[in-house]
């Protein structure tokens, strides 16, 4: 006589209790300090960019799954995380249509066309950023200066909405006056014209120093700026064992080791490794982008190769390519070789002779 209320599903019958939603949520929480900082230093516009981008991702995910007649997976937080990550790679004054285009592209082309969560080849946020960077280079490299919330020159909420929705603030001359270049952009433009690093960095952009760069008080994408807060979130993820050290550490190594070597031999033309670490997207890339589980290798050996590759490509692109910043391209390029890495880094099975 069987009791129908008893489950007869297969072993194991117990579980450590973690879930996909937990993983995604942990990453979102880890990003919160840096996100708050972004809103603080760039004002309401930052908040609008984050909201619009995230919302576009969520709506796209929901509608597309509905179209595919699949249960909505908005609850798994992965679309929200993609939205947040993408927003953090955008300039503070990104127009609304660019945020929406990016969000839709990230979910639709970056994820759902492959079959949804778990099947995408490229990091959806980064592939969307790359798409925007190639399609709208002007808007994607328009860097307003730091303009903290509640400071005297801060935009009002109304101004912010106007900037994002129409590209016009009520005080256009103000917006113009504060536009600037990122430290990386500055360095590439100026050294490209034959200047030394020292001359380049001492030029128009005078705000750069290590403390400002680490805390985030420099121009750049929303989430690129505060290396310290991003690293704090990264350490939280390591502690919670959401990510392992292999990718972040090797990615830093892959970028900073060559940076140190070149800087040692020719400090006039190659900036120091601390500059590379604190500017641009290296920290957010190493802790949050390259570690995306779906698009990174599954074995430890593979993760080490992947991390080194991401770091090295970042340095190569930053130093010799046409773009001042290379983290997105580096990670996306390495994403493409993940299946190959996985295939060749399978662990030696127990009891197999080496």
């Amino acid at each position: 006589m069987s009791q129908t209320n008893l489950l007869t599903t297969t072993s194991p019958h117990v579980h450590d209790g973690d879930s996909v939603a937990n993983v995604m949520e942990a990453v979102i929480w880890a990003l919160m300090p840096a996100t708050a900082m972004a809103v603080m230093i760039f004002g309401w516009t930052a908040l609008l960019v984050i909201l619009i981008t995230t919302l576009s991702c969520l709506v796209t995910e929901h509608l597309f799954l509905k179209l595919r007649k699949r249960p909505s997976a908005v609850a798994d937080r992965s679309a929200a995380l993609t939205g947040l990550l993408l927003a953090l790679t955008l300039p503070p004054h990104s127009p609304w249509w660019m945020c929406v285009a990016g969000g839709v592209f990230a979910i639709l082309v970056g994820k759902q066309v492959y079959g949804g969560l778990g099947y995408n080849m490229f990091n959806p946020a980064l592939i969307a950023r790359v798409f925007l960077l190639i399609s709208f280079p002007a808007q994607m490299t328009a860097w307003p200066a730091v303009n903290p919330l509640f400071s005297e020159q801060a935009y009002s909420l109304g101004d912010s909405i106007a900037i994002i929705m129409t590209g016009q603030s009520s005080a256009p001359e103000l917006a113009d006056a504060v536009s600037t270049a990122t430290p990386l952009g500055q360095y590439r433009t100026e050294t490209g014209m034959g200047k030394t690093v020292q001359d380049a960095m001492g030029g128009k952009y005078t705000g750069y120093d290590e403390v400002r760069a680490a805390s985030g008080l420099i121009g750049g994408s929303l989430g690129e700026t505060s290396a310290l807060l991003l690293a704090a979130g990264g350490i939280y993820l390591l502690r919670k064992k959401v990510i392992t050290w292999h990718i972040p550490v090797t990615m830093f190594a892959g970028c900073l080791v060559p940076a140190t070597i070149f800087w040692t031999f020719d400090p006039a033309h190659y900036p120091d490794p601390v500059f590379h670490l604190l500017t641009g997207g290296l920290v957010i890339g190493a802790f949050y982008m390259a570690t995306d589980m779906v698009t990174s290798p599954i074995t430890v050996k593979g993760q080490i190769i992947f991390g080194l590759g991401c770091g090295l490509l970042t340095y190569l692109i930053r130093t010799w390519s046409g773009y001042p910043e290379g983290v997105s391209f580096a990670v996306v390029l390495m994403n493409a070789v993940v299946p190959l890495i996985d295939q060749y880094t399978r662990p030696r099975a127990y009891g197999q002779v080496a």
Partner: protein, 552 residues
Amino acid sequence: MLGSFHGGVHPHGNKGMASHKAIEPLPMPQRLYVPLHQHAGQPCDPCVTVGQKVLKGEEIGRSDAWVSTPIHAPTSGTVVGIEEYPAGHPSGLTMLTVVIDPDGEDRWSDSIAGIADPMNAEPAVIQERIRWAGIVGLGGAVYPSFIKMTPPKGKKVETLLINGAECEPYLTSDERVMVERAKETIAGIEIMMHTLPTSKCVIGIEDNKPEAIKAMTEAARSYNGIRVQPMPAMYPQGARQQLVEAITGKQVPSGARLVDIGLLVHNVTTAYSIYEAVVHGKPLITRVVTVSGRGIAKPANLETLLGTPIRNLIDHCGGMKPGVRKVILGGPMMGLAVDNLDVPVVKGIAGVLALLQNEIVDKPEQPCIRCGRCVQACPMSLVPSEMAWRAKVNQLDVMPELHLNDCIECGSCGFVCPSNIPLVQYFRYAKLAIQADRRAQKKLDMDKARTKAKAARVEQEKLEKERQKEAMKAAMAARKKAAAEAAPAEAAPAAPAAPATETVAAAVATDAAPVAEGAAALSDAESKAARAARAAQAARAARAAKAAKEQA
């Protein structure tokens, strides 16, 4: 120095519910259902009849096969049925079962007697006793112990490893045996060492069982070669490959037997059962079963007669609380969930667990997010995620490359999977599908060989017929010729007729020879192929029959 193994997980032990509960005997049930297949290998055939009185310890089932062990009556009473009865098997199928109504006297069979001086007995005597007593690996594999106790010729067991890890959460039966029956267990180990023979034994016990470590260390003190090795609690420490790696630092080569690297692993309760069988002559008719889980009112460790329905155990422990979602035979990592409380306790069942909703996994499967936790957790260093998705799309040909067959189905991967993918289920599916494929291929080969053999036979018969026809034609022609020749010479005396007949015969022979020769040459080549095909077919049929029998 204690090593470690790759991977592994840390499930919550949940042993506190039963670990301090002393072993107590379960009262005699109303009726016992003793399945005739409680071990790995061939099932037993009943050797009693319905209505027959049996005594405790009497054989009620045996098999002639090598990989098998007898089944004994757990108590004295009457056989009231030999019938198909639900068994704790994943398929939910029934099994041939001897049903016994106990007479309440619990009287031992007269033939029960220990071996007087086991430490001076011939190993063969002890091996035979272990076989007769129906002792199997009580850690769950239920492989007949006497086979492991008989090292193949030319192989030597250097070290005997005794598995007291009991790494499955909730279970405490091995622990209680070690705490309460340490002396007997060590005596059993000594007998095993004498039998193998070997002079070295390591008993591995997880350090979450300090009482057991203490008791066993104490009991082993006076023995030279026996050492108790505490090990950090880590699942699946008690899987034989992992135990071997943790204690010896060696890995068992894939596909090899432990004895090939001079090792042997036995479960600690098996050692106790060997003591009982050898010293007291008692066959394996009871075992300690942990009844636990948050769905059990009063968890306990029960000395249970084999064949007792699990309902009896649960009722004895105060019944199930409301809201029990799963009843499990064995541990929560590898055990079997059942929905029928009438299934009997058998040799391999160390626990009966009743788990509430908050203790189990009951979430839908989500897509793999490639987090790699299963790869980290796999104690066999496999890539569970890849094996699973390939199994899902039936890419079975790559499985050998992924070492699917080395998977021990420990469930570590499923335990850590944030997407709740039933990975082990996919592996079981793939293993069975590959087996089925192989069987189908075998059948196909057999059919092909049969068709070919038949074609050859038909061809040969045709040739044979033609040859006969030719021969007959030739004979007829010769006869006619002879008759025509004979006719004019009718007047001649009878004597020359004889040579004429000879001539005819010779003529026939000469005529027929080329045809026959050709046929012979043809049929020689043909029959060679046919013979080979027939031989191959016969061999395959024998193998298939054997496989089918094993499968059954």
